[in-house]
């Protein structure tokens, strides 16, 4: 493996993993924009990830797509076998497993171990080398169960029935996970969404998820908007305090993200309610997972690398930082 300007490169496979520049052969772990760029030649990814890329970019962007179901093996180069294992991050997210000359390397991509009904749960794959993310790699990050945070939200909706609860979420993954978690908590009201969230939510529906009744805010007539009092509206984080939110009746800004554990981050967003909902592994899970894979070497791609490196070394694991560039921590959610 090598770190090149285009991204992480696997020499014997002649392929990049999640390259951030167009390359001839790419393995794409999941559909978030900073991992799945357009313009590659051949793209190895799960069918769901390819669908997401097709929705986000043009059909042509993934013309060279090779769909690999989880656990389906393919020999991508002489003596190099690739297969994908579930990563539990978002719909279609995968770890890339490369077997070569009797040894194995697993590239986790972004992953989490907390429950998420929108995707297949993370699977521990025993390996020699584990390449991990470190987005939330500090002991201050412990993500609570999502049910706990949904409960917090619903309590607020009940106590402040005049306020329209406006939740800032990432369009891919977070939005749909939250919608489903609300349904699981027994919330039956119509959910309202910002236009930027529509296409991907529809894609999730095509792929078999049921979010109950939901509507686009823009489809409501001006006179109907007052009906959004006491209702839940989802929007991209950038729309929370933008002109768009002025049309809503007394909006209460809510932010759903793993960063919301830090008070200053909540203030920065001007959020009045902070939901700690993360699609990444928290501190304990990052360490637990690295240990469970049995890897003797752990390479850390992006995030709070120093802390994870330090903690893994203390556990006798050879850990090192790869210093990959081009991962935007705020958007990595």
């Amino acid at each position: 493996m090598e770190v090149r300007p285009e991204g992480l490169y696997c020499v014997p496979a002649d392929a990049f993993v999640d390259p951030h520049r167009p390359v001839a052969r790419a393995i794409v772990t999941h559909g978030h924009a900073d991992h799945a760029r357009s313009g590659h030649g051949t793209v190895f990814a799960t069918p769901e990830t390819l669908s997401i890329m097709r929705t986000r970019y043009a059909e042509a962007a993934v013309a060279g797509g090779v769909a690999l179901a989880y656990h389906q093996k393919v020999e991508i180069a002489d003596g190099v076998t690739l297969w994908l294992a579930p990563a539990g991050h978002i719909l279609g997210s995968a770890q890339a497993v490369l077997d070569y000359g009797g040894s194995r390397i697993v590239i986790s991509g972004d992953y989490k171990r907390h429950s998420d009904p929108t995707c297949t749960p993370f699977e521990v794959v025993p390996t020699d080398v584990f390449v991990t993310e470190a987005t939330f790699a500090l002991p201050v990050f412990t993500h609570p169960p999502i049910a706990h945070e949904i409960d917090k939200l619903l309590r607020s909706v009940r106590t402040l029935p005049d306020r329209c609860h406006l939740i800032g979420v990432y369009a891919l993954g977070k939005c749909q996970r939250l919608m489903l978690a609300l349904r699981e908590a027994g919330y039956e009201e119509t959910l309202y969404v910002h236009g930027a969230l529509v296409k991907l939510t529809q894609l999730y529906e095509e792929l078999g998820h049921d979010f109950g009744r939901w509507e686009q805010v823009a489809d409501l007539a001006q006179g109907e908007r007052d009906a959004l009092r006491g209702k839940i509206v989802l929007c991209p984080p950038s729309a929370l305090a933008d002109r768009w939110s002025r049309r809503l009746p007394e909006p209460l800004p809510v932010m759903a993200s793993g960063w919301m554990q830090i008070r200053a981050r909540v203030r920065q967003r001007r959020a009045e309610l902070a939901l700690i909902v993360s699609d990444h592994a928290d501190w304990n899970d990052l360490i637990r997972t690295a240990v469970e894979t049995g890897a003797s070497d752990v390479w850390i791609t992006h995030g709070r690398v120093e802390a994870l490196e330090h903690a893994l070394k203390q556990r006798g694991i050879r850990a090192k930082a790869l210093n990959l560039i081009g991962r935007d921590e705020e958007d990595a959610q």
Binding site: L138, P139, D242, R263
Partner: protein, 526 residues
């Protein structure tokens, strides 16, 4: 304790002041004594002791956590209590926590070594927000965006009385305020605070309406005094001691021990706090060096001794002259002044005048004092001393503001209702190399309609972004009004404005024609 931590979080994350007050009122109604009184004290900042030292928190966490991981966490979070609250390794919240009051009294009862064990035991039982609440409470470092004034207004609203009623009581009472709540709930009489050194709400003036009111003023019916540019204060003293209060009732005695030491009377007086520089009254800029200093050094006190220009008297011994007309109160005040330390206290002069034209001339004279005197006070001779801002008793007539044409450089989003608008503006003047030098920031002085226009203009003229700060094209000119300016090392331009606001938006004026920094320099040296 659990309910208290919830209260702090609710207030902390709520943006609107009114909503915060509603949350506090609900808590006070639902929570028994003495917990609610301690909570009130914690929020209003009236707790008199630390439960434990800040350093103890650090000791405890370093005993429990890898040093490097703690350092990395602390770096990231940027704040000790929150870092410890989040990184504390035991995470098994107990079903119930001791009451807030029980925790406070336990800490007070325990010796040093016991305190350490007790704090650790509590932190083990808590969730991260509860730990944060405890650590902030214990070291009196709560900052949840609610002022003491807002706390008092909450109490006033609950009882259905005016704010001054609460303010008058407030400084005579101590946490956990059980007598206060008994009165608020109608179970007891109003607490007796006659022996306490309390703050009495002050009397304030209206700006004079030059068209309608000025003509009615004459030397027969009114007196005139200089309006000094210091801070309005009140000193309350008796045989037990003396306290210095700001206009809003904050006790600022600790910053001015030199003044407190010179108090040797049994009275309540109203005046302007200033400092002396080489024996003469100094400007606001000089006073500023002593404000907010918790423990001023002897050298600083010798260099800038505190001085009070006395305006009025609210109590002398047993005698309460507040209901008397101003001229009779003045007799009481003059009698009082014959006994005080003259280096520290002087009587505010009544200025000689007969007609409003004389006043106009005096106001011109005020404008020529640099920023020492900011205008005139005009008071009805028959006015009693009434808390608040009663109509037609006292007027202030500030000298004209200084004006400059400055160019808008950066904009920032506002708070609360204005959070979706760019409503905070930084503007600058042209410097020696034809670059703009920022001279100040203003977020009022325009109408709601103008705010919308400005917001649109800014969105259409965006340049770079620095975190929350949006740089804009240097094309829009503001006429900026301000009450004074002083040299300042903190600002790149070398000047700081006093009380800047937008007086007009000069949509018509090309940016090149805005003022240069020399124009400001000339105003400062005038």
């Amino acid at each position: 304790m659990r309910r208290f931590a919830q209260l702090l979080d609710d207030i902390y994350f709520t943006n609107s002041t009114r909503a915060k007050e509603k949350i506090l009122a609900t808590y006070l109604a639902e929570t028994p004594d003495p917990d609610r009184g301690w909570a009130l004290a914690a929020i209003a900042g009236t707790l008199k002791f630390d439960l434990f030292k800040r350093n103890l928190t650090k000791t405890l966490i370093t005993e429990r956590m890898d040093e490097e991981l703690f350092a990395l966490s602390y770096d990231y979070v940027g704040e000790l209590s929150e870092t410890v609250a989040l990184a504390w390794p035991v995470n098994t919240p107990a079903d119930t926590l001791p009451a807030l009051s029980e925790i406070i009294s336990s800490f007070q009862r325990k010796g040093k070594t016991e305190i350490q064990a007790y704090l650790a035991e509590l932190l083990d039982m808590m969730t991260p927000p509860e730990r944060w609440a405890l650590l902030k409470l214990g070291t009196r470092g709560l900052r949840i965006g609610m002022s003491a004034r807002s706390v008092k207004r909450t109490l006033a609203n609950v009882k259905g009385v005016d704010l001054p009623v609460i303010e008058e009581l407030w400084h005579g009472l101590e946490p956990p305020y059980e007598t206060l709540f008994a009165w608020i709930e109608g179970r007891a009489e109003m607490p007796d605070i006659s022996q306490a050194l309390v703050f009495s709400p002050v009397m304030l003036a209206h700006p004079i309406d030059e068209d309608s009111e000025l003509a009615r003023i004459s030397g027969e019916t009114h007196v005139a005094e200089w309006k000094w540019d210091g801070i309005r204060i009140q000193i309350s003293a008796n045989s037990s001691g003396a306290r210095l209060f700001s206009r809003t009732g904050d006790d600022i005695s600790h910053s001015f021990p030199d003044l407190i030491e010179a108090v040797d009377f049994d009275a309540v007086i109203d005046g302007e706090l200033l400092v002396k520089v080489d024996g003469a009254i100094g400007a606001f800029n000089d006073l500023q060096q002593r404000l907010n200093k918790k423990k001023p050094s002897k050298a600083l006190m010798a260099e800038l001794p505190a001085h009070v220009i006395v305006y009025d008297i609210l109590r002398l011994g047993e005698n309460d002259p507040r209901a008397l007309p101003l001229t009779e109160r003045r007799d009481v005040l003059q009698a009082f002044m014959s006994d005080v330390v003259l280096e520290r206290f002087s009587l505010s002069d009544f200025l000689e005048f007969e007609t409003s034209d004389d006043l106009r001339a005096l106001r011109e004279q005020a404008a020529s004092t640099g920023s020492l005197i900011e205008g005139l006070m005009i008071k009805d001779k028959s006015s009693p001393y009434v808390a608040g801002r009663p109509k037609h008793h006292w007027y202030k007539w500030k000298r004209d503001p200084m004006l400059l044409d400055a160019v808008l450089m950066y904009a920032q989003r506002g708070h609360g209702k204005r959070s979706s608008y760019f409503s905070d503006y930084t503007f600058g003047l042209w410097g020696p190399e034809d670059q703009l030098l920022p001279i100040g920031k203003a977020y009022f002085g325009f109408t709601d309609e103008e705010l919308k226009q400005l917001d649109r203009w800014i969105r259409a003229h965006k340049l770079q972004r620095f975190g929350p700060v949006q740089e804009v094209e240097k094309e829009l000119v503001f006429e900026v009004a301000f009450d004074g300016a002083q040299e300042s090392k903190r600002h790149k331009s070398g000047y700081a404005l006093r009380f800047p606001r937008i007086s007009r938006i000069r949509w018509d004026k090309p940016a090149e024609e805005a003022d240069r920094i020399e124009a400001l320099a000339a105003l400062v040296s005038a």
